[in-house]
Symmetry: C2
Subunit: 889 residues, 2 copies
């Protein structure tokens, strides 16, 4: 317990605190003090600090000794300001007792209103307000709240008494009760409380006060608060503050009112007052929803075609004052505010202000408008937007105007939406796609063997697996919408159908998969393209000014490359050439390359593939004119290209002049125990250089085909593990380049570099840097190897690890900084020590993750590369990372 004051006053110029003290005073208390300092009409009161709560929790629910004296002094001070006395029988001060922690925890903790009322002061309140019904209603509300919150009497016991009273007096359920009714009900409450709680309802206001304070502090540890904190990542150690504040009444007749308002439209960000109010009501009535709240502005009311008058029309002076308060608050807090207010007999009081929650779209507009209005700098605007949330604005979404039947939900594993007919095997997906049909691949889960089918499908739906399952990761990489872990879906591969409850989905049935939300819909649902506003462009412009890392994209198709460039990608960081083989005709040739019985047939198949690859590369080079393009040579284990289905095998066997059995034997011969660690990547070029040679010829040829500005060509070798190996690979590329140069008289211009995706490569980064002008950290594989953790198999146990906190987080979502990240950092230092101009980037899934981007910025990488839709996110995240660095240094 520090020597800090325990009690901080606010209101009427007696402010001990300010907005910067949220840690000590909670958000509500700090902002009440701040508003007081601004001269805004805040009912006076004081805040019991969070340190008291921490003390309370650590000391068996005891308060610090000096608390009582400070509270007594503070409440007398408030009473004095109000010209009242706490417990004064003629002119009693009533107070509210509310929680208020550092982070907003709406509705999770307890509140007591109208405290200070007892059998005597209730009469004084009736006299003072001239409203006996109001006084007794307030008293019964207080007894009810206090009995429930402090004395532990079940809420129903109170409801029952009111119901019984109405029934006994033959009143309808909705009938308004008068002063005498409430008076009688108060009597019944008192008896019932004595019975239920085993003690009398306290008449001493101080006893009431301490009871309420204790209860609110205790509510920090009620079950729903604990759960909420766990979900929101709020520390259990923080504790709540308690705010004790003079009551103001929105229920003191027709000139009184209460309401909540946002200073801007939280839905679209428009600069307009947005909220609702009720005349003659307390705040809880607005929340309870028993009466329909009214609009604040005339414009909003008219737009909604609503009859009851707006606040602007009912109380124009108050409305004007409110607008002025909003302007003050926005100017001061420099953000859109969410405000609670009460009008007591014509006088406006502000009870709370906080930064308002908003949609992504609104957030974007507000940030940009605030900058334009001169309220915040462009730095601040950039820092205000959650990069991940941006993704919502980028993907095609389902048209909300069209109603479609939702049949199930899963995890939103890869964003975007697409429709097509259901298929259950990758091979059929490929076959149907080859005929121009849109298909959705439905699998229990996917494996590396399914990639050609995933590529062919418009979207992927799986019944198992999480956000980082194979299906999810590959779908994001391929830019296919994906819903994973839709556990209600039962798939029967043999029957070629799936059931969802009683519904049956057969092969060929059309469904729509919405990977942005995780929804699965029956039939074809129309989608709408995302529209990007000027606000988006403005914010991205500022982000680009601030960031230090370049942002590239992982793309290999012209459409992905074009989209990424539209989204601001500054080149391609990873062009996965294997994806170019998944097209039906090409995979047929690729399979012949792999399985050919002799060199001649193999070369023939390679010769068919070369012009295709060359065309692909030329298209991509055209789109990326003037920018760097990193092409990774063939990476995956060969068996990923091979057919599984009997028909496919037969067709291939026929083309290759083999028996099915012979072909099957060859396919089996390529099976591996651990393909991730097997014969793949540059290892393929060591055992059989001809495929890389073909790819290199296609790349260099494509460079010569392009007539516009050439790209900065970077050729990258995957899975490199040794210096001598890299030298060999470099020689391979240089030899092909020299041959092309000789043949065409035009020497290709290119740089060579390597992926760093096994720990050994990171450990030898200095040695490898002698032979590489750039490195790209392939953090997907580097995570798998560094942790000994197969992403494809982790589904069966990884969630247990994160649930039990045996791992801080899923390392396939955000880079594992202390393990994999340490290796990346070590490699960065080693590489730069050998070659200070080596270009370093990251091209794993993590390249689009803001937390990872922050890490990459901290360790000084030159660029990140991510999927096209993640490019804007990465641009923003990189800017935020740079700003964070600037602010901490």
């Amino acid at each position: 317990m520090s020597d800090n004051k325990l009690v901080y006053a606010f209101g009427n110029g007696f402010e001990d605190g300010n907005a910067g003290m949220a840690e000590l005073l909670g958000g509500k208390g700090a902002n009440l003090a701040e508003m007081g300092r601004l001269g805004l009409p805040v009912p006076p009161g004081f805040t019991l600090t969070t340190e008291i709560c921490q003390y309370f929790n650590a000391h068996d629910e005891q308060f610090p000794d000096r608390l009582e004296a400070e509270v007594t002094a503070a409440i007398q001070q408030v009473a004095k300001q109000q010209g009242k006395g706490f417990g004064d029988e003629a002119n009693p001060l009533l107070v509210s007792v509310r929680s208020g922690s550092r982070a907003s925890m709406p509705g999770m903790m307890d509140t007591v209103l109208n405290l200070g009322l007892n059998d005597v002061t209730v009469e004084a309140l009736a006299n003072a307000t001239g409203d006996e019904r109001f006084a007794w209603d307030s008293y019964r509300r207080f007894m009810q709240m206090y009995g429930d919150v402090v004395m532990g009497v079940d809420h129903d016991c109170f409801e029952e008494i009111i119901d019984d009273y109405k029934y006994g007096n033959a009143l309808t359920e909705g009938a308004a009760l008068e002063a005498d009714d409430w008076k009688e009900i108060c009597q019944s409450y008192r008896k019932m409380i004595q019975d239920e709680a085993g003690q009398a309802f306290p008449q001493d206001p101080y006893e009431q006060l301490w009871g309420a304070v204790r209860a609110v502090f205790k509510s920090w540890n009620n079950q729903r608060a604990i759960t909420y904190r766990r979900l929101q990542g709020i520390s259990d150690d923080w504790g709540t503050a308690v705010n004790i504040q003079a009551m103001v009444f929105g229920n003191l007749g027709e000139t009184s009112a209460t309401g909540v308002a946002f200073t801007r439209n939280p839905s679209n960000g428009e600069k307009e007052i947005y909220g609702e109010y009720l005349i003659n009501a307390q705040g809880e009535d607005v929340v309870a929803g028993l009466r329909t709240p009214l609009y604040l502005s005339k414009q909003a009311r008219e737009k909604a075609g609503f009859q009851d008058l707006s606040l602007e029309e009912e109380m124009p002076d108050t409305y004007a004052e409110l607008l002025s308060v909003f302007e003050t608050l926005e100017g001061h807090f420099r953000d859109m505010q969410d405000v609670e207010f009460t009008v007591e007999q014509g006088k406006l009081f502000i009870l709370q202000t906080r930064n308002g929650k908003r949609t992504v779209k609104a957030g974007l507009k507000i940030a940009v408008d605030f900058q334009t209005e001169g309220l915040i700098s462009s730095d601040e605007a950039v820092m205000r937007i959650d990069p991940v949330a941006l993704e919502q604005l980028l993907h095609p979404t389902l048209d909300p105007r069209v109603q479609t039947e939702e049949i199930t939900r899963g995890l939103p594993a890869s964003p975007g939406a697409a429709s097509g007919s259901v298929v259950f095997t990758p091979d059929l997906a490929e076959a149907k796609a080859a005929q121009g049909e849109n298909v959705i691949l439905l699998r229990m889960e996917t494996s590396p063997e399914d990639i050609h089918g995933m590529y062919a499908a418009k979207a992927i739906l799986t019944s198992r697996g999480g956000m980082t399952s194979h299906a999810a990761v590959v779908a994001r990489g391929l830019g296919r919408p994906c819903v994973s872990g839709a556990s209600a879906v039962r798939i029967d591969y043999e029957a070629k159908q799936a059931t969802i409850g009683k519904m049956v989905l057969k092969e060929g049935d059309v469904i729509t998969v919405d990977g942005t939300t995780g929804r699965v819909l029956l039939g074809e649902a129309p989608t709408i393209e995302a529209e990007l506003t000027g606000d988006f462009a403005a914010l991205m412009g500022w982000a680009d000014e601030h960031r230090e890392m370049a942002v590239r994209t992982n793309a290999e198709t012209p459409s992905d490359a074009a989209r990424a460039r539209r989204f601001g990608a500054e080149g391609i960081g990873l062009c996965r050439t294997e994806h170019m083989f998944f097209d039906a005709r090409r995979i047929f040739d690729m399979r012949q390359v792999i399985l050919a019985a002799d060199k001649q047939h193999r070369q023939a198949a390679l010769d068919r593939l070369e012009p295709e690859q060359r065309k692909d590369f030329a298209e991509v080079f055209d789109i990326m004119a003037g920018l760097p393009v990193t092409i990774r040579l063939l990476d995956p284990p060969l068996h990923e290209f091979l057919p599984r289905a009997g028909d496919d095998i037969s067709a291939l066997a026929e083309a290759m002049d083999m028996s099915d059995e012979q072909l099957r034997a060859r396919i089996e011969g390529l099976e591996e125990s651990n393909p991730m660690l097997g014969h793949r990547g540059s290892r393929l070029a060591v055992t059989a250089p001809d495929v890389y040679e073909m790819q290199l010829r296609a790349i260099f040829g494509a460079m010569q085909d392009v007539t516009g500005t050439p790209v900065e060509l970077e050729i990258m070798f995957p899975l490199v593990m040794d210096e001598a190996e890299l030298v060999y690979l470099n020689q391979l590329a240089d030899t092909v380049a020299a041959q092309i140069g000789e043949k065409t008289g035009q020497a290709p211009v290119y740089k060579l570099g390597s992926m760093i995706e096994v720990p050994r490569a990171a450990l030898l980064a200095d040695k490898l840097a002698a032979h590489s002008t750039f490195f790209s950290f392939g953090t997907n594989d580097l995570t798998q190897t560094t942790m000994g953790l197969s992403r494809d198999d982790a589904g069966s146990f990884l969630s247990r690890y994160t649930d039990k906190k045996l791992l801080a987080a899923d390392p396939f979502v955000s880079l594992d900084e202390i393990g994999v990240g340490a290796l990346v950092e070590l490699a960065t230092q080693k590489a730069r020590s050998r070659r200070d101009d080596v270009k370093l980037g990251i091209c794993g899934e993590h390249g689009g993750d803001p937390q990872t981007i922050d890490f990459c910025n901290r360790i000084g990488l030159d660029y990140v590369s991510c999927s096209p839709y993640r490019v804007p996110i990465a641009r923003l995240a990189a800017a935020q990372a740079a700003l964070r660095c600037k602010n901490t240094t």
Copy 2:
């Protein structure tokens, strides 16, 4: 080219060089100089340095300018000593010209003898020796050698002339030719050489000399020398020296002789002169084998029952002088010597000495005897033995007295020999072994699914795969003899037979596999247990005095544990508990644990396994009384335990009350894409702690069952990757221990530690050390993860890497020091920084590899653990490592 002299004299006290100059003078030249310094009878001569050869190779076969002058001076100096003249027509000096490189390359390069003879000097030689036949024979020998080596005339051309001469003169093939015969033949040679070589046979001795020198230097780069160097790992850059030496003649009549001798018996190490000689012969005659050489000592001759007299009997004085020379040489060179000598008319000359090659057994005896005789220290004795070679002495070997038919050969993948009947499937191996039959598992190659069958087999034979294939590694781990890569064996699984050429092996046929030599024999061959001599014990004793690291064993069976302890293991470093489940009955229970449909059946199966494990542990604890025993909890992916064969599945399904299909579906559900990186190791305990709990109860129970000295119990968690995970595992063990303690009143005493086998664990070693009293580096898996290299799949490409030198060596044989080793070293530093008494060891396959042991010693590990047969190797290697460290600091 340095400013070094180019020519170094030796003999008669004119020694410019010494034994330490082998790099410059070659081994032969350096030792000739050294013998001269010792006053031994060396014919005088001089050595042309290896630097000349390097210059010659780098300068288009030109010699340095100053060479000619130095050679002329040197040869005149030799002539002067001999009282002769080079080319002197009355008293000519004859010389030999021989190669001699730093490393012995026997027979790979060229030699010219009797150089200096021509049509004139041959007559002088006849006069000087009084032996015309000798002179002309010497001349024709010289022409033949020179013509072949220097002038490139085919060897057959010379043979043809002799044959023709004999045929023309009606002589029998074996007839002795006289002076006139040789004279005529020399005429024919001269004509033939002119025809074949296109130039006359040179008469000028200096022209002869330079021709011979040039030819010998050139022979460094002949094809067989290049190949030999590649095989022996000798650098092409070293070059050879050339030795020019005055000729002495063992063929000058009955008082002349020539011979080779070892100073001790190279076969068994006995201290006895060992070798052979021929009277009236030149060295090449001994090699050519046309005459049967005679014994040197009378004892050896008599023992062999040989008639012709020994050197000891024929020339007792020479023999005595030879013994004295041997004593001088051994005393000086401090090792057993391999000596060439010639006796010219009663006078002994020593032409060469070098350290003699010997068998392992002899090497051991010689090293120990030398120490006992005070010739070398125990340090030196320890350093002299190749640790790997020791293994030959330890395993049971085939009885050489019994002849058995060898049917094929493969690689000696895991030492030892065993016989049994052939089976082709792991399941059948298990079934037959369960009935007490000895079986040999014959597979194309093995995979992790086969382990139960490998365990059940007495030996393993594969037709594919190398020394580090799955079969080889697992066999060594299990202590089963294994021959891998027996490529002549064609297996037809369906027909249940294998063919080797025309021979057919059927299921049930008995064969013998000799994993020490790679031989496969038909039928049952008797084996003999290794007998360990006192020499072995003495050497091991010295090794133990010198080494700093402890040596433990990887063992889980009582027989392995007992053998390892006999071999000097100081505890168990790795007890792989999963191996204890491979017994037929237990694996049946284990399968039920894994596949049980409900908790109750699972627990029942666990309850059956617990007492079995407890018994196993108690037996091992008994054997290892007083020593540390590290038990690793269950490690492999569960599917390794599961049945593949239809019969096994049916039997299991029946026991589990399931249909075959249900069981198959469950088994398939456990399949993984990359099991190495999947659901295994401690991850099993995170998802289902009950198996580890059972194992822990069995371990603690076994500790209580043992009545003798308890072991130091260490419990080890496999595949740990995070600090929180390790804390969880520690709690799991502590909880079980506490339960046992409570139940029995006896708190178990144990330490907890973790394997380091994924890079992340190494990177976080400081954090993990907070919760571990020891670490064991599992370098098999650490190599796989650090390099991204699956051992089971590397067969298809790893040899290409080592062949092309894209990797320095097979990283599964010797630890990859710069990659995996760097990680081990980093972890060692980090672990010690957190806990300076943390015990660090290595328990992968590498733990028995001397090179790796040297590395472990350098980075300061506390112990290595290896398979039982490797324990002596490790003790010796550890001693050598410690001595090497001492000598470099």
